[in-house]
């Protein structure tokens, strides 16, 4: 769909985006994580064409430039306008007329659960409603690429899960989505691809599936502290980890294969097994490592 090739963008001396390359493949939901000032919004503005790269290229792959729906991070609206009117205007800018425009507006309102607020002035809407309105306007005109800058910021938990549901629906309809967020749970839930930006450059990039399958480990919890058994267990494999005065043994990576051996050692030493858990690295850990 879109290929970003070695793009750099500076604001005077500050390098906002530093030699970023990325392919946006149709149907993907790309989650962009990064601390404030990492360059997420700048990257969006480069894709929308409101900023020009200082070097590098942003080009469409194969087809014409996709129609873009953009939900900016800042919720700025013509505040005296009514919700329905605002969406109608967006529909007309997307070349929708008459019944078709009305249908698109109604669908947009329904998508974000704003039907009851359709005739309210925007200035009378709560922050959550404005967030939904911003999302609704981005969806008008059936864009093929949706850029969502912190879509669930300011929403209550129910609103956040509604947004997640909506994003999943949109993905099923084949809409490509690029989503910048600070909500790790949201990104884990909806994204198929993960990108971590820090100080303008990509520090981590992977499919979500691969990212969350990284570094598998098994933790075994026993009924009492391990004490004397600790050196014996640790001598089995360097990837076996036992915290001091702990009741938990963690088998990392290759050490997972030693699970039967460890279990039999524990049982023969008279320990009761409370819990065995197979887990993987969390997104929070990936993020923390990439950013720090």
């Amino acid at each position: 769909m879109i290929e970003i090739n070695g793009v750099t963008k500076r604001y005077q001396t500050l390098v906002a985006i530093d030699d970023v390359s990325l392919k946006i493949i149709p149907g993907e939901v790309i989650g962009i994580l990064g601390p404030n000032g990492a360059g997420k919004t700048t990257l969006f503005r480069l894709i929308t064409g409101s900023l020009n790269p200082d070097s590098g290229r942003i080009q469409s792959i194969g087809q014409s430039w996709p129609t873009i729906g953009y939900k900016p991070e800042r919720l700025l609206f013509p505040s005296d306008m009514r919700v329905r009117k605002y969406l109608s205007m967006m529909a007309s800018l997307s070349n929708l007329r008459g019944k078709e425009a009305e249908r698109a507006v109604q669908q947009g309102l329904a998508n974000v659960d704003l039907l009851d607020a359709a005739d309210k002035k925007i200035k009378q809407c709560s922050k959550g409603m404005r967030q939904r309105l911003a999302l609704a306007q981005a969806l008008i005109g059936k864009p093929s690429l949706l850029l969502l800058d912190e879509p669930s910021n300011g929403l209550d938990p129910e609103g956040q899960s509604d947004i997640c549901r909506l994003i999943k629906q949109l993905q099923r309809r084949g809409i490509t989505i690029v989503l910048a967020s600070h909500q790790l749970a949201e990104v884990t839930q909806v994204c198929t691809h993960l990108l971590i930006l820090n100080k303008g450059s990509i520090h981590y990039e992977s499919s979500m599936q691969d990212a969350l399958a990284e570094r598998p480990h098994t933790s075994i919890e026993v009924d009492r502290e391990l004490f004397s058994l600790t050196p014996l267990l640790e001598s089995l494999h360097p990837e076996i980890e036992i915290k001091p005065e702990s009741r938990e043994i963690v088998l990392n990576h290759e050490a997972i294969a030693l699970r039967p051996q460890v279990l039999s050692m524990l049982l023969s030493a008279g320990y009761d097994i409370i819990q065995i858990q197979q887990s993987y690295v969390t997104l929070a850990e990936i993020y923390a490592e990439a950013v720090n």
């Binding site: 900023l51 020009n52 729906g69 700025l76 967006m90 911003a134």
Partner: protein, 252 residues
Amino acid sequence: MLFALAFYLIFFDPRQQTPDTDYYILVLGLFGSIFAFLVTLSVAARANRAVHFPFLVRLPSRIEYLTSVMLASMAFTLGVQIVMGILAILANGPKFTVGQLAVIPPIWLAGMTLFIVLALHASDLVASGWSRVYVFGVLAILLYIQSGLGILAEGIAGLTDRLGNALLTQGWTTVANPLFSLGDWIVGAGSDLIQQFTGFIFWPFTSIASASVAGFFSVAQSFAPALLLIYATILFVLAADLFAAKDLYLTE
């Protein structure tokens, strides 16, 4: 709107008879141009707000956005100008023949369009880097040359003469003589050349004014509004280029 009202009351006081058709055409035409400039600055400032960012993203080309700013300014100015024109006719206004009425639209529209495009260059929406300084700097230089070239030329010629005399006293005749010649050229042929050039640039304005006063347009003068539109087109293309290539930092 206050500006429009004040302008109307000062120049078309309903208690007095509006003197003549040329006064009506030129004064209201001037009003339209100045008002268009102010309106465009205001519309462009509104268009430069981040509120409109989602609109901009939807447009296939930024030029559409710029054109809409231009057309909005033109429509609003034209509306006010027409209202004022009708009021000025109804309240002791001059009597027009059809021929006189026919010359009004090209004159008003050409001036208005040019000033709208100039205002676009003055606005934050379009200006990029030093572009504003370049556009209005060139305009200021042309206006200065047009109005005060004689004084400027004599000043420069005086300078070259003094420098020539100083060099002559040192015996440097080979350098002094060309300086004297340069001084003569500046006040003579050089001034004429530059004045012809600036005269050509400002010819549409002077032509429209003199034709309106005379009450008829010669064949050459009838092209003056078209030339103004050509200026406006060139400046609009420049504005469109600047706007299309600039980084948009809309104000929040």
